[in-house]
Symmetry: C2
Subunit: 238 residues, 2 copies
């Protein structure tokens, strides 16, 4: 559970697709451009994902419940084609344009790139832990994990967003919106009927952010959970 | 959405596996036995499933939102191995023991059978619409639709129960519990970490029933939904 709670973004910074900067004649916009990219995660990204999950748990004050190891993730994720089951979009940022890395282009998904023009450059105290090993100056900044759900009323699949997380120093720049929008776009392209996720009822900033993105918060539904020994009891009884 | 709201069952009626009746020396228990079976649904069951979904929508006073046709269901369900994606357990009942129909036994799931001894036989006003075409005296009485979800904290899959429904004349006999227990048992057998579903906060009977089954109702989480034109807008913007 636990779609993280990105605070509402400020008035969005101007952005433009890579290669189409909105100022100047060379490929680097003025100011402090933050080149951002969303791509499908791969098994090589598991060390980053494990750290991001743990940071999300700390953010939600639920670190004691976050026990997934890299081995747990490796044995349960990336077992099927993207979008057919558990799927992760990874958010990467760089102070320089991304190299055109064809390894991240697939028939399933073409990476989404944006340039965010910032007034000040970002100081990332954890850059060393999140530097991408393949591209030296690229840093992992967040992720979204989602999977298909199903609406019997619509007779259509949708997506459920389990986690949405942006590392602290990259928040309030529209990156959470970029991640969630990528899932919504994918759902719309696939003809799916819904995107759903959960939010904590006291998190007014997150609720405002989600409503601004077009979502409704359903007031009457409560989530029921059967887990731990109470779940194991069903096996033991049979 | 919408795990239906079976009222809490009364003190469970005695039950025993088929072939092991709890009274008498022949294979038919005394009283009014209701032979019940849970098996994996197949594409042949879509007409029943479509009718059950519509009855669930009426039960929830949401019939206007229930627009799935048999064609919608046929094009979106049964596309992968059971338990890997959207999965349906069908509940059937009969006044006679089930024939040993090997067609419903698979390496994925062995049907679960129970005999429920009732004080009075059930009058089913819709029997004609729900008679199973293959087995003349077998009637479809309910279903549960579920699919894998994922807990990043546990690093494990689980199951999310989208719909749980028992037709009105078969309620209050423990059949809803039998369906939900079958999902919990399957999750436990697969080593999954959780079974989750949603309940309406005003449905005290359902909440009591679920708590008695070992579930916790999470008070703080709210479901967010992006659908319809608000979802389509993400495609149109790209």
């Amino acid at each position: 559970m636990a779609a993280a709670a990105p605070p509402p973004p400020p008035t969005p910074a101007p952005s433009a697709p890579t290669g189409l900067p909105d100022s100047g004649s060379d490929s680097t916009p003025a100011g402090h451009p933050l080149f951002s990219r969303i791509r499908l995660a791969t098994p090589l990204d598991i060390p980053y994902i494990q750290k991001l999950i743990h940071q999300l748990a700390i953010f939600e004050k639920l670190a004691h419940l976050s026990i997934a190891t890299e081995s747990d993730l490796a044995s349960t994720l990336f077992k099927s084609q993207p979008f057919q089951s558990f799927t992760i979009f990874l958010l990467e940022v760089s102070s320089r344009p991304f190299e055109n890395d064809s390894a991240f282009h697939s028939q399933n998904f073409t990476p989404i790139e944006r340039i965010i023009n910032l007034d000040h450059s970002v100081t990332d105290p954890e850059a060393e832990a999140f530097v991408n090993g393949i591209n030296g100056d690229v840093v992992v900044a967040g992720f979204v994990l989602f999977f298909p759900n199903y609406s019997t009323f619509l007779g259509k699949p949708g997506f459920y967003v389990e986690d949405l997380f942006v590392r602290e120093c990259y928040r309030r720049k529209g990156l959470g919106k970029m991640l969630l929008s990528a899932v919504a776009l994918q759902a719309a392209r696939m003809g799916y009927g819904r995107v759903e996720w959960a939010v904590l009822d006291w998190n007014d900033n997150a609720i405002k952010f989600y409503e601004e993105m077009g979502a409704n918060v359903l007031p009457e539904w409560r989530i029921c959970r059967l887990t731990g020994p109470a779940l194991e009891a069903y096996r033991d009884a049979n």
